[in-house]
Symmetry: C2
Subunit: 114 residues, 2 copies
DNA sequence: TTCAATAGTTCGAAACTCTTGAACTTCTGT
DNA sequence: ACAGAAGTTCAAGAGTTTCGAACTATTGAA
């Protein structure tokens, strides 16, 4: 079977699902990594080290179905990007405030400045 | 036994717990009711109608232990208030953005103005 | 084309959490 | 002291989460 990584449309995003997805330390960390280096990361690179692959896969599914990330197959790997703009448009300030609160020490911006 | 409604200190608040608490539709609705009418509400008044009391109690416990609400016994009932200022100070913008996103239609303020 | 390696996904079982009725505790008014 | 009101605790069934084992898809040789 081939379920091709379904992503919700912007209108379909549910606030509860977004919060639920971010309420897990592992998933919050994944999102944090995706936002800091703003290039697509494959699953292993985005997830904390030593996390079993099956657990990884589960977390990425939850992030994807909440609409937080977009995952595409690229050869043998799946690369992930944050859907930050869409989420900001639908729920302004929510994810940015969470990400700010989640990392009180380091705050590099998108242009690479510290 | 008498566990006297423990509340975490502001420094003890964990972002994950706050998000987790707000990721449930029932609890989000409770918080929404507590913020709109900004007077203390007892559990039955703050919770959605017809929710079993045991379930109510469970949800209030999670909100309390996440640090989102303060619950005090007042005679035979327990009255609840949002700990909005403390949470805003610890995680600026997070809960306010969530509450804004959670109610796109209605925004009556405390004075009864629309 | 076939093989092995790499990157993820699916399955299944144990551990954990959520929901809810039943029983219990606290406080108030009579 | 008793009945009633408001919550809490307990226990059981349903639903999740975690993670190893088996599986699938893609690539790059041989």
């Amino acid at each position: 079977m081939k379920r091709p990584l379904l992503h919700p449309q912007p209108e379909e995003l549910r606030l509860e699902s977004v919060l639920y997805a971010l309420a897990d330390p592992v998933r919050l960390e994944i999102v944090r990594r995706l936002v800091t280096g703003d290039c697509p990361l494959n699953c292993s690179a985005a997830a904390p080290a030593h996390l079993p692959k099956s657990t990884q896969s589960h977390h990425f599914q939850i992030l994807r179905e909440a609409g937080l990330i977009c995952s595409e197959r690229r050869g043998t790997e799946v690369v992930n990007t944050l859907r930050l703009d869409e989420i900001e448009q639908r729920f302004p300030g929510v994810v940015t405030a969470i990400l700010k609160a989640a990392k009180p020490f380091q705050c590099p911006d998108a242009d690479g400045n510290a």
